[in-house]
């Protein structure tokens, strides 16, 4: 009659598994590889320049906070610029004369337009014709 498997038999079967071991030479070779990889990384130029915020969670929080403050500042500045532009536009369309008096060129025009026709000296067509005639006589 065949014997049934028990938990102890399974344990014994697994214990038969051989232990793997590396020779001193290959253990040294693996160590040299580890040493080389770490040394190469240590001497990399980026490691002296780059700040690595990912090495600790609190640094992530600090970086995120800085980014939030910076982006809020930019958005706030853009909004205030928009608002001042809008204010200027609203003033210009609600009170045009105030704007015109500020403008020197436009003020001159308005003064001229405001004057009556009587104040402008009239040019007599006949006088002009006469002077031309006089010139012709002189010639």
């Amino acid at each position: 009659m065949t014997r049934k498997w028990t938990e102890e038999d399974v344990t014994k079967a697994l214990k038969k598994m051989t232990e793997v071991s590396v020779s001193e030479t290959s253990a040294d070779q693996i160590w040299f590889k580890i040493d080389e990889k770490i040394s190469v990384r240590k001497n990399h130029v980026w490691n002296h320049i780059t700040w690595k915020p990912w090495s600790h969670p609190i640094r992530w929080v600090m970086v995120t906070a800085c980014l939030c403050v910076a982006s809020t500042g930019v958005v706030y500045h853009a909004n205030s610029m928009d608002q001042s532009d809008m204010d200027a536009y609203l003033i210009s369309i609600s009170n045009p004369t105030a704007n015109i008096t500020k403008d020197l060129g436009a003020a001159n025009v308005s003064v001229l337009l405001g004057e009556s026709f009587s104040s402008v000296p009239e040019v007599k067509v006949d006088d002009h014709l006469d002077s031309i005639a006089a010139d012709e006589v002189l010639l």
């Binding site: 014997r3 938990e7 214990k15 598994m17 793997v20 590396v22 580890i34």
Partner: protein, 182 residues
């Protein structure tokens, strides 16, 4: 140099500290990797990667558990990552040639030093069950240590080991293998 001094030196970026830790723990890391991954070549690569990770993350070790437990956890996670990657590659069709797979299984069995039937049965176990069983039976870790390493509850570890053994018994009986054959 003691282990604690080596850890402190390693924290300061001193390679001599890491070398002492490597000499103390390389055998355990290599064996655990070998059992999970199934090949000595991959286990040696894993040994290398794990100690680079140890150097990188030594600041995360707070001394609440034994250093060996922490290294064990790192090794297990690293090997599970490799297995996950392997599964993804296999799913994508890079490693699904049947002959290659069969050859691999038989090579694994020879490498692991026991009958191919047990090797195949172990391969069929879910990863966590397999790792719990191997840690308990081969590395003689306590249930508490396995729970710490794998970050599982004590009950889960015990049930994993019990289920794994039951599955192995059933498979070996189905294959017509007796305890005296092994």
């Amino acid at each position: 140099m003691t282990e604690t001094e080596a850890i402190e030196k390693c924290r300061q970026g001193d390679m001599a500290g890491l070398h002492v830790l490597y000499e103390l723990h390389r055998s355990k890391v290599l064996n655990l990797s070998w059992r999970i991954l199934g090949s000595q070549h991959e286990a040696e690569d894993s040994l290398q990667d794990v100690f680079i990770k140890v150097f990188d993350r030594i600041d995360h070790y707070r001394g609440e558990s034994a250093f060996s437990t922490w290294v064990y956890r790192m090794t297990t996670n690293h090997c599970l990552d490799i297995l996950r990657r392997r599964k993804i590659l296999s799913f994508m069709g890079f490693e699904n040639v049947p002959e290659v797979q069969d050859k691999k299984d038989s090579e694994k069995a020879v490498n692991l030093g026991f009958s191919p039937v047990i090797a195949k049965a172990l391969e069929k176990l879910p990863e966590k069950q397999k790792i719990c069983l191997l840690m308990r039976e081969m590395d003689d870790l306590s249930y508490e240590d396995i729970a710490l390493v794998l970050q599982l509850s004590l009950g889960t570890v015990k049930s994993n080991i019990h289920r794994a053994k039951a599955f192995l018994k059933e498979t070996l009986e189905k294959e017509g293998l007796t305890p005296d054959d092994v």
